[in-house]
């Protein structure tokens, strides 16, 4: 599989602060690739750089084999972009937003009409075609932004936090659509800090923090590599919790706020013990990507 995006030694500075610090990255064609990381990790900056929307301070970027920023126009002509914050044109209706946007790509009017109909159906906005942007809900705006990003029938779709701030219904709908896009052969590159989203959608992902790549792999491989298979979360009196978990023997113990996490290969004994302790509530679950993410990026707050 040829790589759609190839990045080597990418560096970006704002004044003297280095926000992207030597990233190497290959996004294979036809895959859904995730960029994970806490706020300020450099995800959005990396996306801007690879679309030629921001000058590079070091390293090399190629998209579709073309050099960025020199070939920015050609690359963006074959790419769809969903920005983090919606920037739909408030002067226009839903359908006009798509039409005006399509003209920026030089798409002929007849092709554009057909595509607008298809895309409105794809994101379930057909009956809102003539609605003004201000009358749309957050979820509708997001769906329209996704439709807009597909107006040029792109080979690569770049999505910056596609479902942040949306209700579960819309989120599931968007996930379904993104899977459809991947099925149809498009390459997806998305940032998120919803681990569930990354786990459900991404074939492969990287975890970034402070401008560097910490880890790369499939979600399952990362979980296998970095987290014990079983997790027990305990809430309740600290003394009791410590006592119960200490008795369990091997395993990793971590206290975060009022919750105690216990990571282990075999939780049966601990579960039995906890069941006999009415002062504690607990949850026994398989390890997930969030456990890996927090282990790698730490638990302190980010802005």
């Amino acid at each position: 599989m040829p790589a759609v995006v190839e990045i080597k030694g990418l560096i970006k500075r704002y004044d003297s602060r280095e926000v992207v610090r030597g990233i190497d990255l290959n996004v294979p064609a036809g895959r859904c690739f995730g960029l994970l990381g806490p706020n300020g990790a450099g995800k959005t900056t990396t996306l801007r750089l690879l679309l030629g929307q921001s000058p590079v301070n070091g390293g090399e970027i190629r998209v579709f084999g073309l050099p960025i920023p020199q070939a920015g126009r050609a690359v963006r002509a074959r790419t769809g972009i969903v920005p983090q914050a919606d920037n739909l044109d408030p002067d226009f209706t839903v359908a006009e937003n798509l039409r005006v946007y399509g003209r920026y790509f030089g798409i002929p009017a007849t092709t554009l009409d057909a595509r607008i109909r298809e895309l409105l159906a794809f994101v379930d906005l057909t009956d809102r075609a003539d609605a003004r942007i201000a009358t749309l809900s957050g979820g509708m705006k997001r769906r329209l932004t996704i439709a807009r990003s597909l107006i040029n029938d792109p080979e690569l779709v770049v999505l910056d936090e596609p479902t942040t701030g949306l209700d579960p219904q819309v989120r599931h709908m968007i996930w379904g659509r993104l899977r459809d896009l991947r099925q149809s052969g498009k390459t997806l590159l998305l940032t998120t800090h919803y681990m569930e989203e990354a786990e459900r959608l991404c074939d492969e992902l990287i975890i970034m923090d402070q401008g560097r790549i910490l880890e790369q792999g499939t979600p399952a491989a990362l979980i296998r590599k970095h987290a014990e298979p079983e997790v027990i979360e305990v809430r309740g009196e600290e003394r009791l919790a410590r006592q119960a978990l200490a008795a369990a023997g091997e395993g990793r113990f971590e206290a975060v706020g009022d919750t105690y996490y216990y990571y282990t290969r075999d939780a049966r004994a601990v579960v039995k013990q906890l069941e006999g302790m009415p002062g504690l509530t607990f949850l026994h679950r398989p390890a997930n990507l969030e456990d890996v993410f927090l282990k790698l990026t730490g638990r302190e707050l980010r802005d």
Binding site: Y14, L51, Q53, S54, P55, G72, R73, A74, R76, A77, I81, P83, A85, N87, L88, D89, P90, D91, F92, E96, V100, Y101, R103, Y104, F105, G106, S149, N152
Partner: protein, 259 residues
Amino acid sequence: MALLYLPRFQGAALAVWRRNTLVWRKLMLPSILINFGEPFLYLLGLGYGLGLFIGEMMHMPYLTFLASGILASSSMNTASFEAMFSVYTRMIPQKTYEAILATPLEVQDILAGEMLWCATKCVISGGAILAVAALLGGVHTWHALWVPPVLFLTGLCFSGMGLIMSALAPGYDFFNYYVTLVLTPMFILSGVFYPVTSLPAALQSLVQLLPLAHAVDLIRPLVAGLPLSNVPLHLAVLAGYGIAGYLIAVRLTRRRLLV
């Protein structure tokens, strides 16, 4: 880094122009009403009213003198305000440019499209003024049909400079400096209301640096049916300001948006 950023028109700058045209069409009725109403009041009140006392100025009725001045100055205002307030709105709070920059378009295409649109608006509003002036009997020759192209060029000239202001503006208040320190003095000094020759000699040569004075010098004979002079100079000054403004604005806007 490139020395010059040149625009593409097909499917790029023209797409931006079409975007703005579509917005304008939605508010066409009120804006045409303003386009006709304002010059009508000006020309009736000042041209007729003041004209009664003044009679002729530079061998033409005062109404004709004033109408040709207003044609030029209204293009200055139309282009400047569109290139400042409207462009700034699309660039910063509305994030329209951010959305456009995710397409094959570059900053230079967007700004070229904006300038074409500003110039178009000048032709629309100037056309209304010309019609009102003709109705009031202030237009004396078919040569006046050459006025719209001159208004288009005047629009390009002032929109180029307005775009620089938009690229620099931290907020809308910033435009007050440009209006107060540049546009208003130019409006007063460039021969809109009275001939530049009545100014002190030192000031007269200074006025020759102002693009509005050159727009007035082109438009007035075309409206009054008098012979034109120094046409290449006037055209060159208007085009020069426009091109320089465009190139500087592209640089500044790229620096502002492509961070």
